[in-house]
């Protein structure tokens, strides 16, 4: 069967965008090197749940993890979402 290639397929560049979001969160919250920031995109396929959201975890040593939920896919997140 013939294979079709689409050279114009758009890319979301997720690894780069995740790194950028970590930087924005670090700057916004003034986080030091001892704080771990995790970024994850969670998808839910059950009826009524948000289709996709970005969850950011701020992990300060000895403290409960602080989570920030942004109801957007990672690719749509902007610096202003953390104001």
């Amino acid at each position: 069967m013939k294979k079709f290639m689409n050279p114009f397929a758009p890319s979301r560049y997720l690894p780069e965008k995740a790194s950028q979001i970590k930087e924005w969160v670090r700057m916004r919250h003034g986080l030091g090197d001892d704080v771990v920031v995790a970024v994850s995109e969670l998808a839910c396929r059950d009826y009524g749940c948000p289709d996709i959201e970005t969850v950011i975890g701020i992990m300060r040593p000895g403290e409960k993890i602080e989570t920030i939920r942004v109801h957007k896919p990672i690719v749509d997140i902007e610096r202003d979402d953390f104001k």
């Binding site: 069967m1 890319s11 560049y13 690894p15 995790a38 995109e41 396929r45 009826y47 993890i65 990672i74």
Partner: protein, 395 residues
């Protein structure tokens, strides 16, 4: 008592997980292996595509990761343990095949010490009798890079692996060159420096290498992996919210189904091979990377006794593979689609128009899909016409 090793077999849609499973299950070395197929989609077609033989194959669900409904992997393992203790099955290892869209973090948290807390007898029995012994991630060399760039799940599947298997590498060896394979291997090594990387198409490759029990140590895989596991557990532990509700003060969102969609096309009558090829070519051309996955069983009109398995991944439509026999009494053509932002309706209409051989409707339905790839369309529909003309002239 030694724990039964559990292996997670993951990889983005179309990476070749079911193919590898079939190969494993035909190997006597993998007798007494239970397979748990973690499916996504409204038709459990993976069941039919895995040749089970005497292997214990069970189905589990992914659950919902953004709220409280977790996966049911512990329940499934508990049931397997119960069967083993009754002597109804022999259990030397368990392989959990995840859906291609799975985020591995919740499953891994359910299977490692220090992950999700045990909350009842069932969870304690599972923790005592099973141990996560490896995460194997398959990466399709043709579509893997695009998957990593576009789907967060694909990125995490690679990061969580302690064994990475490059698949379909034979398709990129141009004149025997291995340059493309070496380049891809380097990219994977950059993404996950701790994982061992295998090439599934080399002569010395043996799948059993991937499923030798070892200790799965998330800490050895880097800070991101540890952070994702912690974040997943924190999200799960947050105040439960029912499906369909957003938290107080959060932006109300009504968007479920806006992006990732799964749907099934079913046809009672056998399909004409040329018409089916036309349909697959058109839908692939129109949808491109938004066509995440198509898999299914097809009844072709020129070979009713043998079903054909079809696979398409994004823009790649693979040749149908003939099975020796139908897996059960259901002899209908069944195609499961997983798409990114494509509604079922235009695909369904294109399916009907193409298989009913209605060229004018096919054109309309094709443009409904929104690609505007008219040249491809004309190439696809005019070629059969010329063939038909030739046939008529020859008859």
């Amino acid at each position: 008592m030694d724990s039964t090793p559990v292996f997670l077999l993951t990889g983005f849609l179309g990476a070749g997980k079911s193919t590898l499973l079939n190969r494993l299950l035909s190997d006597p070395e993998f007798a007494d292996t239970a397979v748990v197929i973690n499916e996504f989609g409204d038709v459990a077609i993976d069941h039919d595509l895995v040749r089970a033989g005497k292997t214990q194959v069970v189905r589990s669900t992914t659950g919902c990761m953004c709220c409280t409904a977790g996966s049911d992997i512990r329940t499934t393992l508990y049931e397997l343990q119960t069967l083993a203790e009754k002597g109804e099955i022999a259990l030397r290892r368990v392989i959990v095949e995840t859906t291609g869209l799975a985020d591995p973090a919740p499953l891994i948290n359910d299977l490692i010490p220090g992950g999700s807390p045990a909350v009842g007898l069932r969870d304690h029995v599972v923790a005592r009798n099973f141990a996560l012994a490896g995460v194997v991630t398959l990466v399709d060399i043709e579509t893997g890079e695009a998957a990593i760039d576009n789907h967060f799940e694909a990125m995490k599947q690679i990061a969580f692996a302690d064994r990475l298997l490059m698949t379909k590498t034979d398709l990129v060896r141009d004149g025997g060159s291995t340059e493309g394979v070496a380049l891809f291997r380097t990219k994977l090594a950059n993404a996950n420096p701790a994982a061992q990387i295998f090439d599934g198409k080399t002569s010395d490759f043996n799948p059993s290498m991937l499923f030798q029990a070892r200790a799965y140590v998330p800490a050895s895989l880097g800070d991101d992996v540890i952070a994702w596991l912690a974040l997943e557990e924190a999200v799960r532990a947050e105040k439960p919210r029912a499906h369909g509700q957003t938290g107080a003060g959060q932006q109300a969102v009504d968007r479920h189904g806006d992006r990732i969609r799964t749907f099934t096309l079913i046809r009672e009558e056998p399909v004409v091979p040329a018409a089916f090829r036309k349909f697959m070519g058109l839908v692939s051309a129109a949808a491109g990377p938004r066509l995440l996955r198509v898999k299914g069983i097809v009844s072709l009109s020129d070979d009713l006794t043998h079903p054909h398995v079809v696979h398409a991944v994004q823009h790649m439509v693979h040749p149908p593979r003939k099975l020796h026999a139908w897996p059960n009494e259901d002899h209908r053509t069944r195609l499961v689609f997983i798409t990114d932002g494509i509604d079922p309706e235009p695909v369904q209409k294109l399916f009907v128009a193409a298989l009913d051989n209605q060229p004018s409707r096919v054109y309309r339905r094709f443009t409904d899909l929104g690609s505007g790839l008219k040249n491809l369309f004309h190439a696809a529909v005019t070629r059969p016409k010329r063939d038909e003309t030739r046939k008529m002239e020859n008859s």
